[in-house]
Symmetry: C4
Subunit: 273 residues, 4 copies
């Protein structure tokens, strides 16, 4: 056994996660990702920046160097190099190192490296969370199923925002913060979504009356996406359970049997499986 593993062994360690060495590699990687995100966050706090600025700057470049090395290692080890570069993980890996290099030219762009938090998705592979993945698929499929309804919904919301924003711009004017239609539309979104910062708020009587109507509208509208997602989730859940549940009786062809049924509930014939 040589000191350096073979290329194929290295590829296994880097890309798989099913033995001791490859698992250790992934855990070290996750810790590095976590630390590097932490360094970026701490560096943004002026207090820490003043005290530990030099150290954090060095750490940031150390992590970026390590991730750059790892990126090229992955390309070198891949059988389908282009495939890796263009894959979801490949793009995330690239985006995770670019901002630090850009920061040499563009002020503050290094803070965009927090996007490397997305690299944490690799944790799914380590934990072999098939159950998680299944649950996530139900969620995603429910959202996909309701895509059309959500599009219609978003279209209606944006039209309301445009018309109501313009109306409030005319009614309230710049004195109470409605200084342009885009800003009024921002206010309409803040109100419809019930966020309500209060940085812009109607001051006139008519403005408050129109705002009240928008709020009650938002109150009714917020029920729609919830209703859509819920009914899709319920349907997805039912489909899932129905798939698991049904057996068919070969004697009377009744197919509405429970999972644990051994005999047909209609004719008493034995069920298989």
């Amino acid at each position: 056994m040589s000191l350096f593993p073979s290329k194929s062994r290295l590829a296994h360690i880097v890309f798989e996660s099913d033995d001791k060495a490859s698992k250790r590699f992934d855990v070290v990687l996750l810790v590095l990702i976590l630390l590097s995100v932490l360094v970026v966050i701490l560096d943004s706090v002026s207090e820490y920046h003043q005290k530990f600025g030099t150290f954090l700057y060095a750490a940031e470049w150390f992590f970026t160097a390590a991730f750059t090395l790892e990126y090229f290692l992955r390309i070198w080890l891949s059988n389908k190099k282009i495939g890796y570069v263009l894959s979801f993980y490949g793009i995330v890996d690239l985006l995770a190192i670019l901002p630090t290099y850009f920061s040499l030219f563009f002020f503050q762009s290094q803070y965009l490296t927090v996007i490397r938090a997305l690299r944490f998705l690799r944790i799914l592979r380590i934990l072999k969370l098939t159950e998680h993945v299944n649950e996530a698929q139900i969620l995603v499929s429910a959202l996909k199923q309701s895509r059309l309804k959500i599009q219609i919904f978003l279209g209606s919301v944006l039209t309301i925002v445009l018309v109501m924003g313009s109306l409030m711009y005319i009614v309230e004017g710049p004195s109470s913060g409605f200084s342009s239609i885009p800003r009024s539309m921002y206010w309409a979104i803040v109100t419809l979504t019930t966020v309500g910062y209060g940085d812009i708020a109607p001051a006139s009587n008519i403005g408050q009356f129109i705002a009240s109507i928008i709020m009650l509208l938002g109150y009714a509208i917020i029920a729609v996406p919830t209703g859509i997602v819920t009914s899709e989730l319920t349907a997805a859940k039912n489909r899932n359970e129905a798939k698991l549940r049904h057996k068919i009786c070969h004697n009377c062809t009744l197919q509405d049997h429970a999972l644990d049924a051994k005999f047909c509930k209609s004719c008493g014939a034995q069920l298989d499986g």
Copy 2:
């Protein structure tokens, strides 16, 4: 083939959307609508108004002239002229041009032209989005079904708003912004809908106690419209799926049979399959 198309050909181009010429007409129209809305929005930003005010003013009148021409063209081409004028699209088309003319007499009314965003609904016809329409119908039908429940709900909300608003007017008084019952009712709506601007907020202990109760009430109340819409959407979905699943009787063509039905429930004829 002459340079100008015949009137019937022109009517086809303007009102249908099933060949190259008519599709191109609709796409150009949508782009014009989009641009005209953009012009109105930009004109409201004082910075752009000062720089490009004259150009935006000219563009606004150009679009209005174009849409006015198109409006009269549609009337001229319609077989049922009154029918078009009074139809939904006819009224929207008129509302989309009126505000600019009014702006000659009323200050700022030109911003109401954003209502021409509604003309964008024509996109549904171009894309032949029958599926979208079907989804939208489920949404609309679910909302219609829950109309009565929503009316009761709105009535209760308005009564709570009236009583709680008056109470807070007495308890808090003008010093903390509750300067009249209408303004207190505005605050109650801001609070019940969980928008919470904070432009008016209770300052006294009793006021904050009553406000807490209103908030917890609103917390419970927000569940009601969501519950209504969700249960209607689920029911609509089930009805839809049930329709797809059912068998058709070849004797009386009734198609609303359950999966396990062996005989037609309407005429008693045996069902196949």
Copy 3:
């Protein structure tokens, strides 16, 4: 026919709503209620109070006198006088006139007369809204069914509010508005219900961290009452539809037939009713 109706005829006009005279009485009453609520609201706006104060004060006393007369008329006409006084409508009728008399002794109590808005519930009787009542009963029954779950939920919310409010009182202190535990609890309710006025907001790092956790908690918690009400509404809806739907076949005792079924789907025998 004398000029004055008999006492029994008068009782019919006042308490019933099924012929011309009694309907007209109810409509006049509703208009008076609406006007009297409007007078109270307008009187609270200082601008109108200064201009029309004397007139509004007179109107307020006129309406109160009219409703007082009506209240004693109803007592005189009732067969069960105590029964009317203690009934829901009887109490509302009394509460609708008391505040004005109290206003002679207690400053501003006349604004509590807005409670006469509750008298508007009589509209249900005029419109004979049996359908409304049925819908309302489903809502009320769904809320009753989930009463226990809502109690547990409210108990949990109040415990979270108490513990988190105290914690924030210790962490933030009076400098940023958390001047006492009751005020901190008010803040916790404002936050948990996602109202978020911003009149009190955490300023320290630890305070903002704890607040973030409370918000995410509230995000999860808001799902619970919605889920409870929705599942109860869905169940109530299903029960209602199931009741309407099921017929029993006298031949094979299968009871799972659709409402419009004329023949048993299992054996083909004719169904009755």
Copy 4:
């Protein structure tokens, strides 16, 4: 009958709640808990602290002494002393007295005694609220069932908060309150959960545009946990109702049969009724 009850009788009074003496003990305990929480709350209001500070301080120590006594009494009376100390109620009982003792060393820690509100859970035992417990179990089981979905959901929310917070830190900068990434993340949570204090709000055009997108995202995202909990609650409810409805096989005592089952699905024996 001696003046002092025997140790076993005392244990019964303290730990059970099924006769007159033990019920009285529990009621007195609950009143003491309520009063002690009230004392802590009142002491935090500076007005009351100045007026009744000495009395409230004495009351606080009286309650703590009483609960300390009770705590050691419970340990002494328990058969499994370690078991009680480490049980949920044992830990709560300890946490309910510790803060007062700590307040001798750490300023203000006495306010943490509000945690003794948790001792109120004992009320469940007094009221023998088996129904409550059943309802609570449905709630808890529904939440447990959706644990995986909620974890995925929380992970997505935190990633959005991290990325969007960093973006806003770069775009807005310290001038409008986005003074560090942690603070920007706090703002992102305030916005996503629709709390919206307004203590930090975007001021630039790009910032308001990005904030609008976050809000619309939050609008869609808020539908997910509600959908999850609702579909789980509906499923739990259905399972519960299905259990009640099903028939029991007298041959093998399996009780999970459908309403229309004629033969036991486990052993094939005929079912009656």
